[in-house]
Symmetry: C2
Subunit: 148 residues, 2 copies
């Protein structure tokens, strides 16, 4: 049974092509801007009191995966797509944790842009350390990756 | 422009009603099971080498929000829905970080269940500390919340 979502806004960044975009928000020093559609502006109330937020978005410029094994940007070996953050995936939902710089009504300026310009925004959630920070014991291929 | 996704599996948990489910995976000591549909099994290759994973899922038992201001489970004041993790939201996408216990083909056993039984799974991503752990400086209403 398929599920339908409607974008709540658009993400603006300097990146027009996949090759230009940083690998992960944590490695980006570039600012971006979230434009939430005016009818959702009230939903942002209180967001300016958080330093970090999740952006969930539609990787609308990613084609469907040709295979369920993909080679992540940071390794030279293929892995199951669900053990990677590769953008071509069965449901192309992107997730970035970014630093919120400021809010002006329905606009959010943020640091850590790693998505393409014009990306449709699906959801925003606050990043809360006691919910979101976990101590890992294994990080699979990432531990022995070929590319730093 | 609406966006259509198709579930890649189902999440099984002991929770039949919203009132039974723990608030956030980080506060849950309950195990759950992910059943990925057989056609996506290969996409899990390598996941067993990660201790923690993101589950992204459709909050299919959450009604649409009546208002863009909602009262989160841990506070007695309403806030903009995007500054909360409240399940009734314009695009009801759930995000849980859980501890992966083991994989058996297309089944994953995990610790930290906070979603309802039968929840449609949209995506799995590996949790990688250098991508996913950020030092926050502000956590808004959560800092002064009324309920611990």
């Amino acid at each position: 049974m398929s599920i339908t979502f409607n974008p709540i806004g658009i993400i603006h960044t300097p990146f027009k092509e996949i090759e230009e975009a940083p690998i992960q928000s944590a490695r980006s020093e570039i600012n971006g801007e979230v434009e939430v559609f005016p009818e959702f502006t009230e939903g942002l109330d209180g967001i300016e009191e958080f330093s970090h937020i999740y952006l969930l978005y539609h990787l609308n410029q990613s084609d469907q995966p040709l295979s369920l094994h993909v080679k992540p940007f940071l390794d030279d070996q293929p892995h199951g797509v669900f053990s990677t953050r590769y953008p071509r995936r069965p449901n192309p939902i992107g997730l970035s944790i970014v630093r919120l710089l400021c809010r002006d009504k329905n606009h959010l300026a943020f640091f850590g842009a790693d998505m393409l310009d014009g990306t449709p925004l699906l959801d925003i959630k606050p990043y809360i350390p006691s919910f979101d920070i976990f101590e890992t014991t294994k990080t699979g291929w990432f531990t022995n990756r070929k590319i730093q």
